[in-house]
Symmetry: C2
Subunit: 420 residues, 2 copies
């Protein structure tokens, strides 16, 4: 293929390491100048392509691009915007091709989860159908760790390290307060459908008595009575109890606990977290003093305690995406392959986008203990390597020094605007 | 004074660095064997002294004591237990002296906040009155940074570093999502009476447009209308808005927002956080998508991102306490003295316990901007040095390796039990 420009976009919820992937894409593209001209990024993801709002990454210095490796969030903006099916809105796909044509774009890199893999796949189909040569590569990312085929997902290892560290630290605090004050601590973590992040909390428990003592997975319907009995037992044995709970915890009837109908003083529904509900149960039924935390975005943006393994893998998938592209591979996604468990060794493999699109990888049942309240040794073996190693950002004035790019726009070439 | 044993206890809410102080006390005591025999720690704070439940720290290896320097929580247990006044319950004080006498304790180190300074002062008075030679030293600690006389409080700098880092990181996340999703992010932090921790969030904002865009201090009554206008303005200018809010935020009538009367589906009062309330306001009045986090214990136990300055100061007050004690100084507390602001230089000074007991150091009004929503340059100058430097703990299996002591009990010598 003659030299063409590349388009890169970030999609969906961002992570602490998605910019490490962007760094991998851009630095590697800069090394393949024979094939790749400029890398244009979509401002706010695919919306940037539809609205012809492109960012010229060639205006950024090598140092700025290098700093992406240690900067959380999505440097070019991301979006929650799913393209409709080809049948429903073919105009969207045609618009994409039109914009790519106008800017001489021959490579499409889409950095996201299941939906993004699906979009990349569809874009590759429509490009072929329209006779427009376009190499389409999906690049994996999601804190939820629920992509098919890949052994793990870039972004997950860092959240895992954050939640395991945080619940261990809070456990040390609660243990010291338990005699006269707080006996139960509840940490709410992300993962609405799959319990991978909840499971990662379990890594903090290495010896008998270590917290977290209880994990509440989205896969296991909440059994109030058994939970309270287990909490009470933990307090009796160890003096306190720490709990990691998924935001997606459900009642046996399938309803989310978070939709349990909290009302403010005026009777308005309140969108609360699960942690305060669990804590309140503990207070009402066990009469124990509690504290609760909701980590929310802190967990997925905590670049200051990123997993080195995760950063390396996040960069590697970006690099591999470009290397696959210049070889002309299309409709594929670089994935992480576990070559060996102990010692942990991994490499980058290649998967077809259609095998990844719209699948969700749930926690295997044998990763959760029989009583449903903790992780098994098998799960621990799987998770442990993913949090290995530290990769600290540089600090300035006592705080992590993260980069803000210039994000210079590419001059528009098309007359027509596109309404999203 | 002839060689005597020492008693050390941790009091009140623990911090990420109170064990660094314990490390300073014990390591320094071990260097003064001519004056100090064994260091006995109170199990669960002063309760351990009252119930004669003492821990023999001489049973711990030098490596274990060294590891306290990087371990959060209170290694010997703490308690929320305030001794009554001398008039109300002289028996408590007499019991303390009885236990100290039984175990040949001549030094009393009490590591805590205002209340603990008060207790130390009273214990020194009663000892003198009873003719029992006891050197009483208060050792400062509190994440609230509200102790009088000392320039800052050991434990505060690390919380400050954590909250400033966290809100900066979450800000990078929200900025990338704002086009189609979350536009407002609210982080709730500790500090029920004084806004020092809320102020520390402000350190993350270094340039025009940086978050946090709004701080809600406990010192400034919450003005809903002005808050919403400011939030709206921030979204218009920067595309998003991040907010740091104190758990102690109050309505103009003085009531805590956290007591605003959230009810569950059954009408039971819910003890919620402030962050979800603020977020809900944003949703209802501005129709913007929001996320919120409550850091709770995570902030005060986050040893993984402790401030090096704070760790050094926490250790130094422990060391100084013992050095003061062997010189026979009693009724005093080592404090941190700021010798110079830029470059930041500090030293350890000495204050009388009675000048510290029961005072609360509030944020000066000129540390808060006129509109009440941010910190002034003067405040930034004060806070900035306190978060300087990193002091990472060692890691094992990808997680911080914190020490759990053996906490071997000292055999009891008194026949009578004491009911607390």
């Amino acid at each position: 293929m003659a030299k063409k420009n590349a388009f890169y976009a970030q999609s969906g919820g961002v992570t602490a390491t998605i910019n490490a992937t962007a760094c991998g894409v851009i630095e590697t593209a800069r090394k393949h100048r024979r094939h790749i001209g400029k890398v244009y990024a979509g401002r706010d993801g695919i919306i940037g392509a539809l609205t012809e709002d492109l960012i010229d990454t060639s205006k950024e210095s090598a140092a700025a691009i290098r700093a992406l490796r240690h900067t959380p969030g999505g440097a070019f903006g991301s979006c929650r915007y799913k393209l409709k099916s080809l049948e429903e809105n073919q105009a969207q796909y045609e618009r994409l091709i039109e914009v790519f044509k106008a800017h001489d774009i021959g490579y499409f890199f889409y950095n996201g989860g299941n939906d993004s893999a699906d979009t990349s796949y569809k874009v590759s189909q429509i490009a072929a159908k329209m006779g427009y040569p376009l190499v389409c590569i999906g690049v994996p990312k999601t804190v939820d760790n629920d992509l098919a085929v890949t052994d793990c997902c870039p972004g997950f290892g860092s959240v895992a390290k954050y939640v395991a560290t945080s619940i261990r630290e809070a456990g040390f605090d609660v243990a010291s307060m338990a005699r006269t004050s707080t006996r139960v601590f509840v940490l709410e973590v992300m993962g609405r459908h799959a319990g991978w992040i909840t499971a990662a909390c379990g890594l903090a428990a290495e010896a008998e008595g270590d917290g977290p003592h209880i994990l509440l997975f989205p896969e296991i319907p909440f059994d109030e009575e058994r939970f309270l009995a287990k909490t009470d037992d933990s307090i009796r044995r160890y003096g306190y109890c720490t709990v990691g709970v998924s935001e997606g915890l459900r009642w046996p009837d399938g309803k989310f606990l978070s939709e349990s109908g909290l009302r403010d003083a005026f009777g308005h529904a309140q969108l609360g977290g699960v942690a305060p509900l669990i804590a309140q149960l503990v207070r009402d039924k066990l009469k124990q003093k509690y504290h609760w935390a909701v980590a929310d975005y802190l967990q997925r943006s905590a670049r200051h305690i990123a997993s080195k393994t995760d950063v390396l893998q996040s960069y590697a998938v970006g690099k591999a995406a470009v290397e696959l592209a210049v070889k002309g591979r299309s409709g594929v996604m670089p994935v992480i392959v576990r070559k060996s468990a102990r010692p942990y060794r991994w490499t980058i493999g290649v998967a077809d986008l259609k095998d990844i699109a719209n699948h969700e990888k749930m926690m295997p049942r044998d990763y959760i203990t029989e009583d449903g309240f903790h992780i098994t040794e098998k799960c621990r073996q799987y998770l442990a390597p993913l949090v290995q190693g530290e990769d600290y950002p540089p600090y300035r004035n006592g705080l992590p020094a993260y980069v803000k790019l210039k994000n210079t726009p590419v001059p528009k070439k098309l007359a027509a605007a596109f309404k999203i």
